[in-house]
């Protein structure tokens, strides 16, 4: 590679770009994400009861997800901004189709079949924050009343449709991803607080509209011992798995809770407990630090972004990623009710992995397309 010192510091000279930049990738983010994903495969082999086939198919999915990331990284943020509305409209259309004619899996309608099956709610995980950020891009910040009402509608419509599937966990997280955009846009604190008060007042209403199993989960979180063999079973077994892991864990593939299948959903939603049992506190804290590194890098990218859309989108995607980690780990450790949120990059399963990596691709696109020269 050429060393062209004269070009340094002036502007991006093609000769000084390394291969990462040429591919619109961000080294630290890529390293952090791949490290977690690789550790995830390693853990998954143990968490599936040493099932080669499942581990292999997860590796394939990871490969597909990395491709999705590479593709998204090539899309210029300006392009995303222009088509955010369209993506949102398509996603909303699919959600309506699911509600009317979706196929049912495990009692909930979440899938739509267009040659292959996919969950439209996955599109919305990205489309909602993107549409909100694009909407705010052109408007003075902090948002005034009318834009605020429009934003609330933008967020509430898909969230309500997803909650009807019913998939309350995803609905809340998607609403949160849009809400984060609004908060980052500089929503006044008094508006935030009055919103919180309103939400508190609305809780009884929410309770009344919940499904029985959803109420049961909340009750179970408050007192898991109330029904040790029923709804509380998952949480009790998960806490035993983590607690018995101690400081250093029982060793890879040696956790009795996970391997003997005392722990339900061991390879999906409760995989964090398998890590706790086999790698102990040390393993869990290291994993949390790795997550923090990825989130921190995402927030750094947001702080370096040079336009409103990029800034808000990057901030929202990073913080939503954090929310996934927080909700899953808090659920597995019994701090939150059991909502079906997988541990990002590690839990067994396909669609969410692709969306997640796509989001990292967007972060990279934002970072590699920023204007480097001060105006």
């Amino acid at each position: 590679m050429f060393q062209d010192t004269t070009a340094m510091g002036r502007e991006q000279a093609p000769a000084t770009q390394n291969w990462l930049q040429r591919m619109h990738l961000d080294g630290p983010l890529l390293a952090g994400v791949l490290l977690i994903a690789a550790f995830g495969l390693f853990v998954l082999y143990s968490a599936t009861g040493q099932n080669d086939r499942q581990t292999f198919s997860q590796a394939i999915r990871l490969g597909v997800a990395v491709v999705a990331m590479l593709i998204m990284a090539q899309v210029p943020p300006n392009f995303m901004r222009r088509y955010a509305g369209a993506a949102y409209a398509v996603g909303l259309g699919f959600l309506l189709v699911v509600l009317i004619a979706g196929s049912t899996s495990k009692g909930a309608q979440r899938w739509v079949d267009i040659g292959f099956r996919f969950q439209p709610s996955e599109i919305m995980k990205i489309a909602v924050p993107m549409a909100c950020a694009a909407y705010l891009h052109y408007r003075p910040l902090p948002p005034q009343l009318v834009p605020l009402v429009i934003l609330i509608c933008l967020i509430a419509m898909p969230a309500a449709l997803i909650a009807r599937q019913p998939d309350l966990g995803t609905a809340i997280l998607i609403a949160a991803s849009g809400g984060i955009v609004v908060l980052l846009a500089g929503l006044r604190f008094r508006v935030i607080f009055s919103g919180l008060v309103l939400l508190g007042a609305g809780l009884p209403l929410l309770w009344q509209n919940m499904h029985d199993y959803q109420r049961q989960r909340v009750l179970t979180m408050i007192n898991p011992q109330s029904d040790p063999l029923g709804a509380g079973y998952n949480i009790i077994q998960s806490k035993i798995a983590i607690g018995s892991g101690g400081l250093f864990g029982k060793g890879w593939t040696n956790g009795s809770q996970g391997q003997l299948e005392y722990l339900p959903e061991r390879s999906t939603d409760f995989i964090f407990a398998v890590i706790g049992e086999e790698f102990g506190l040390l393993g869990l804290i290291s994993l949390l630090l790795a997550y923090l590194f990825v989130i921190g890098r995402g927030l750094f990218i947001a702080s370096q972004a040079t336009d409103t859309f990029s800034r808000l989108l990057a901030g929202s995607l990073s913080l939503t990623f954090f929310l996934y980690v927080l909700v899953n780990t808090a659920m597995v450790t019994g701090l939150l009710p059991v909502v079906g949120v997988p541990l990002p990059l590690i839990s067994y399963g396909g669609t969410s992995m692709v969306t997640l990596m796509g989001a990292f691709g967007i972060l990279m696109a934002i970072h590699t397309n920023r204007r480097l020269l001060p105006r």
């Binding site: 408007r139 035993i240 798995a241 983590i242 339900p264 702080s303 780990t329």
Partner: protein, 617 residues
């Protein structure tokens, strides 16, 4: 106020964003700290408690495998059932001294000394918390001896499980099939959750075809175990749903009779009730004992079964493609009469051989001196080949093909067990398709000649021949042959019966043609010149049939077929098809005895035996 064109104050907006971002970072740190604090609480301060919980009293969700459904004959005789078997298991981490424990078990004579090395090896390789099977089948005596000593063997216990058992051994083995250990490839095609706890799966036969019905669905129970891993208590969460009982159309007595008739030979018998298509008996000899597969056999025994020259595992009744020989002559006669290519009164002089016009090649009759003057009835009764050689010239192969396939020859009949072969009815079109070389695609006149006596390319399975005979008995109504009569829910006793299923009928055939053909088939057994007159004499019902003797080995033009010089396996196959009574048929039978040389001499008496038994029941 809501001025959308308002100027954006970029600097202020950026400052605002940074403020909010800092707030977000604070939230991230607080949230992560909360989780980390919780983890510290669980893994450091409460570690002891949870460790005890993990090691000691455990509530464990265990799959309760469903009981496999029974297979019974049409009268409710059990053909496949489940018997309890006991096995000795050890959970290594719960045993204080593995060596010492093993030594004591050997001393009690509970373990096989020959397996010692193998056993130690398996214990070493297994995860310490997983049960290792020390001995798979314990007799009552061993169970009793261990039960007395059980308190002195922490971590070792007896587990009962159900093992498939075939109480009649080899009887109907080819129909039932067998179950075997659940393999990796089985797991790939079944719902794994439903097979948790299941150890056996249907590998072939009815056991495989009706696997999902026989299996049932899994239940779950929560088992509370103590520190030794012994189950203290359990609570059922959902009951397993036992598998359905499958009632076959087979009649156990008739099946036994058929298998006894084939004892010591190779061959197959199929008996069908013409009006319903129900298969009353289906025998294939030699046979095997499916219990070996269900209980597990060593590789030497398995290899011996597989390499046996007589192929006992092969179901000849549905998979064996045999030249049908003269058994198809009634069909050809029917076709020739129906299409006007011959008449009842036409007489041919049989001199024992036949030549095509302009050729010196002699097609021999089975009777070297010839049958003399024969009409159609006598041609069938005496099985005169020369008459049919001539008939084939009058009909031509494509017309013969048309009539034969209308009766289901060359076609899969859709019987419920795997391995069914379609057989082959040749035609000009088939030969063009089948061969690549131009020269091979030409249909030769001589091939038509030998096709008329069911030789050459033509093959049919014993099942097809029985179906063909049943269709003649039904005067052209085709009913799909089947082995299953009904399914029964073991809990509610609700039954789902399988109704007779009609196949596309044979189509319009002249009523006189039917009458003459069946009359000729009756003459086979009940006229003094009939080839099976000896078999047919003394029956008190009307009996129609046709013998066949199919060549396995072609005899060169100038040689004579010498029974003594031929290797036993190259001798002709003996065939017979029959149905009775003619007025209201109750049974249609096909019998094939490999290398038994004489259809009328060997196969016909077997058919009579079955018909006698069935009609006198």
């Amino acid at each position: 106020m809501a001025n959308l064109q308002a100027i954006k104050d970029t600097a202020t907006e950026q400052r605002l964003f940074f403020n909010r971002l800092l707030l977000a970072v604070l939230c991230v740190v607080v949230g992560t700290a909360a989780v980390a604090a919780r983890l510290t609480q669980l893994q450091v301060f409460e570690h002891e408690t949870y460790s005890d919980l993990a090691r000691g009293n455990r509530i464990r969700l265990e799959a309760a495998p469903p009981t496999r459904g029974l297979i019974l004959d049409r009268n409710g005789n059990v053909l496949a059932q489940n018997l309890p078997a006991y096995q000795l298991e050890m959970i290594p981490e719960q045993v204080t001294d593995i060596e010492e424990t093993l030594a004591r078990l050997f001393a009690l004579g509970l373990l096989d000394a020959e397996q010692e090395e193998n056993l130690r090896d398996r214990i070493r390789r297994s995860a310490s918390f997983k049960p290792v099977t020390l001995r798979s089948r314990m007799d009552d005596d061993a169970v009793a001896r261990f039960a007395l000593q059980r308190p002195y063997f922490p971590g070792v216990d007896i587990r009962a499980r159900l093992v498939r058992d075939y109480p009649h051994g080899a009887t109907a083995a080819h129909i039932l099939g067998y179950v075997g250990g659940l393999s990796e490839s089985d797991l790939r095609r079944v719902d794994n959750a439903n097979y948790a706890g299941t150890t056996q799966i249907g590998k072939t036969g009815i056991e495989a075809t009706y696997e999902s019905e026989l299996h049932g669905s899994v239940g779950h129970r929560e088992v509370v175990t103590n520190a030794d891993g012994r189950a203290l208590d359990f609570q059922t969460r959902d009951e397993p749903q036992p598998g359905m009982h499958v009632y076959l159309t087979i009649d156990l007595e008739l099946q036994r009779l058929a298998e006894k008739a084939l004892e010591g030979r190779r061959g197959a018998i199929v008996a069908i009730e013409p009006s319903t298509g129900e298969v009353l008996a289906m025998a294939s000899a030699p046979t095997f004992d499916p219990n070996g597969f269900a209980r597990g056999m060593d590789s030497d025994t398995f290899r011996a079964l597989q390499e046996n020259l007589d192929r006992p595992l092969f179901n000849r009744a549905v998979s064996g493609g045999y030249p049908p020989g003269s058994t198809i002559k009634p069909l050809l006669a029917l076709g020739a009469l129906d299409s006007g290519r011959t008449s009842v009164n036409r007489v041919i002089n049989c001199e024992g051989h036949f030549s095509l016009p302009g050729s010196t090649h002699r097609y021999r009759d089975w009777k070297p001196e010839g049958h003399g003057l024969v009409d159609l009835t006598q041609a069938i009764a005496q099985s005169c080949d020369v008459y049919f050689y001539q008939l084939a010239q009058d009909m031509d192969i494509d017309l013969m093909h048309e009539y034969l396939v209308r009766f289901g020859l060359g076609e899969n009949l859709g019987i419920e067990i795997p391995g069914e072969k379609a057989g082959l009815v040749p035609s000009r079109a088939w030969k063009r398709e089948r061969f690549r070389r131009r020269a091979d695609q030409v249909w030769f006149p001589g091939e038509t000649v030998i096709a008329s006596i069911g030789q050459g390319y033509m093959t049919a399975t014993p099942l097809q021949l029985a179906h063909m005979t049943a269709t003649i008995a039904n005067l052209g109504v085709r009913v799909r042959p089947r082995l299953t009569h009904r399914l029964e829910d073991p809990l509610t006793r609700d039954t789902t019966a399988r109704e007779p299923e009609l196949l596309p009928a044979v189509g319009n055939i002249d009523a006189n043609a039917w009458q003459h053909t069946i009359e000729a088939m009756r003459a086979v057994l009940q006229s003094p010149q009939g080839s099976a007159f000896a078999t047919g004499s003394g029956v008190d019902y009307t009996f129609a049939g046709k013998s066949g003797t199919a060549q396995v080995f072609s005899v060169a033009q100038e040689d004579k077929y010498d029974e003594l010089e031929l290797d036993e396996r190259l001798k002709d196959h003996a065939l017979f098809v029959a149905f009775a009574p003619i007025e209201s048929p109750e049974i249609a039978i096909s019998v094939i005895v490999e290398n038994a040389e004489s259809g009328s001499g060997v196969a016909a008496p077997i058919a009579r035996q079955l018909a006698d038994h069935w009609l006198s029941r």
